[in-house]
């Protein structure tokens, strides 16, 4: 194969020996370049969008038609209640892929190369996160489209929907930092998945995503009421359907800020440290 022939040793002369002083890439340029890498991966392996599109479609369809009749009178009624919550659940679930991606980059040795480059060190982590935010957005739009087809009509209009999106993405960004830490700690991408699902299953199901709080036993209500996912689902539902918000938006913001403040510095410090 002609692509496999290498030129004689002398042919490298033209490309080597240059020691131009290259201006160092700034933090923003480095981060955006790594976000560009995330986009290229989506372009070359569109299959990875399956994770973020098929799961939400499946969740929305299954829950709407299986529980819709029992819980909301009819699927069409139920989806008005469910969709803002399903959005929260799927987006929170797919944040795991941030940790999975990071872990596989580390295992492949790619992060060793990044870390040995003279660039702003947090860029690979932030660049990957920026790419993930785009994937979360794609997933959100997919859920909304499926919802529309099934009869979802947000009373809050476009502004309500966009505000809910913004809040969910912020929370997803915050939670991603936790998976980044797990992604650095465990040995394989698969164990990132298993570890994180142990937290995610109770977190998303012990919430008011599928049914209202008042249907649960008293002791459970106390737990569910303080679950950040409950606050987020209430806020998302309130914004999209013009329902009373209470202090849900405030709590969702506080939780996001709290998680970022605790885990982001920790993750960056761990990243900076050796493995």
């Amino acid at each position: 194969m002609s692509a496999d022939t290498v030129p004689a040793a002398g042919d490298l002369t033209g490309v080597l020996g240059r020691r131009d002083v290259v201006p160092r890439s700034g933090p923003l340029a480095a981060t955006l370049t790594l976000a560009w890498r995330a986009m290229l991966k989506i372009k070359h392996v569109p299959f990875q969008l399956f994770d973020v599109t098929i799961m939400p479609i499946m969740f929305t369809l299954l829950f709407t038609f299986i529980f819709g009749g029992a819980l909301g009178g009819s699927p069409r009624n139920y989806i008005q209640f469910l969709l803002p919550g399903i959005l929260v659940q799927t987006i929170v679930f797919i944040t795991v892929y941030t940790g999975v991606g990071l872990n596989s980059d580390i295992q492949k040795g790619l992060f060793d190369r990044f870390r040995s480059l003279p660039m702003w060190q947090p860029a690979p982590v932030l660049g990957a996160l920026a790419g993930d935010l785009i994937r979360y957005s794609i997933a959100s739009v997919v859920i909304l489209i499926v919802g529309f087809i099934l009869g979802f009509r947000p009373a809050g209009g476009a502004i309500g929907v966009v505000a809910a999106f913004g809040l969910v993405l912020l929370f997803a960004f915050a939670v991603s930092w936790i998976w980044i830490i797990i992604g650095m700690k465990v040995k394989t991408p698969e164990s990132v998945m298993t570890t994180s699902f142990i937290f995610l299953m109770p977190l998303t199901f012990a919430s008011n995503i599928f049914v209202g709080l008042d249907t649960m036993p008293g002791w459970l209500q106390a737990v569910v009421r303080h679950n950040p996912v409950t606050h987020l689902a209430t806020a998302s539902r309130g914004l999209m359907q013009e329902l009373p918000l209470g202090d849900s938006v405030l709590w969702a913001l506080l939780w996001s800020a709290g998680i970022i403040l605790v885990f982001a510095p920790l993750a960056l410090r761990m990243y900076h440290k050796e493995r």
């Binding site: 020691r19 160092r24 890439s25 480095a30 070359h44 480059l117 003279p118 660039m119 493995r275």
Partner: protein
């Protein structure tokens, strides 16, 4: 003497394991320096330390006059690392991988694209430039990996086992590339467990075992330390190694080297005239000899002599 790398009492401990047990190295600029040793000897730990990926437990290391701990950023600007496993992104094309590195090094988009193009051309990858790296052969991946280390020409290039797992042809291509990089004035620190590779490429070598340098010098120095020359006897029958060894030991006095091949006896010879007496004695004992040669010792022999055991890996084939 301009030093590219200098380490003093360098140690690295991972939990209970002592990966480096005190390494002192002085590596001159503009040379290919080989770190030779079996798996787990501490070679990779040593270059990860020099490339600022990990910090030493004790001791100091300076790369081009910059301390690897205190001046890590300065070191990173001057060195490139090509790790043991091709550290390129499988899902991107070869060209995109190089553009990515160029951008991260601070090149503007246009320059990063141009640089990627000329490197792909020079490394014989132009036709595969727009294919995903996952479709590349092992040799192509390795070349791309080395190209990625040269987007900005480093003053020192760390190469960790650049030919492991490659077929002989790809291995020769990588060797040509390494020679050519060194000829352009980049100091190359080459890790290998292939004795032949170190012999062919490295101006000087350090043999590392159990986290320590057990020998240092040119390939010629190391060979001289084993003996003036080495006698290789290949026997017609495998079971005769034992008797043949005692014959050789009797004739030469001492100097029989351990051998992994059950039909071969190897020994160091101080005087070539003694060799003829060996073949005579073997004949008298009725031991049939297939091959009988007297040559300078190989690095294999050196490793045996230093550690009393063989280096674990050998290249698949000798060209």
């Amino acid at each position: 003497m301009a030093l590219a790398i200098e380490t003093t009492g360098l140690t690295k401990r991972f939990g209970d394991t002592e990966a480096l047990a005190g390494i002192d190295l002085k590596i001159r600029k503009g040379s290919v320096y080989g770190l030779l040793g079996p798996n787990g000897a501490g070679k990779t730990t040593a270059i990860r330390l020099l490339a600022t990926l990990i910090r030493p437990t004790s001791g100091t290391a300076s790369v081009l006059g910059h301390d690897v701990v205190r001046e890590a950023a300065e070191v990173r600007r001057r060195v490139s690392l090509t790790g043991q496993y091709a550290s390129v992104d499988d899902e991107l094309t070869g060209r995109e991988n190089l553009i990515l590195i160029g951008r991260l090094l601070g090149l503007p988009w246009r320059d990063a694209r141009a640089r990627a193009g000329e490197l792909m051309e020079a490394f014989g990858l132009a036709e595969a430039a727009r294919r995903q790296v996952r479709t590349y052969s092992g040799g192509m991946r390795r070349r791309l990996d080395i190209a990625a280390s040269l987007v900005s020409t480093p003053e020192i290039l760390f190469l960790d086992e650049p030919t492991s797992g490659l077929d002989p042809r790809s291995r020769n291509q990588v060797w040509d590339i390494v020679r050519s990089i060194a000829a352009q004035g980049t100091t190359v620190l080459l890790i290998t467990q292939y004795l032949e590779e170190a012999d062919r490429l490295a101006d000087r070598l350090a043999v590392i075992d159990h986290g320590r340098v057990i020998a240092e010098g040119t390939s010629r120095d190391l060979k001289a330390s084993v003996g003036a020359s080495t006698l290789h006897v290949r026997l017609a029958e495998r079971g005769q190694q034992g008797p043949a060894r005692s014959v050789v030991a009797r004739v030469l006095g001492d100097g029989v080297l351990p051998s992994t091949d059950p039909s071969v006896v190897t020994a160091t010879v101080t005087d070539a005239a003694h060799a003829s007496r060996v073949i005579e004695a073997l004949g008298l004992e009725g031991l049939d000899v297939l091959e009988f040669s007297l040559g300078s010792p190989s690095l294999d022999d050196v490793f045996f002599a230093l550690t009393g055991r063989p280096a674990e890996a050998r290249p698949e084939a000798s060209p």
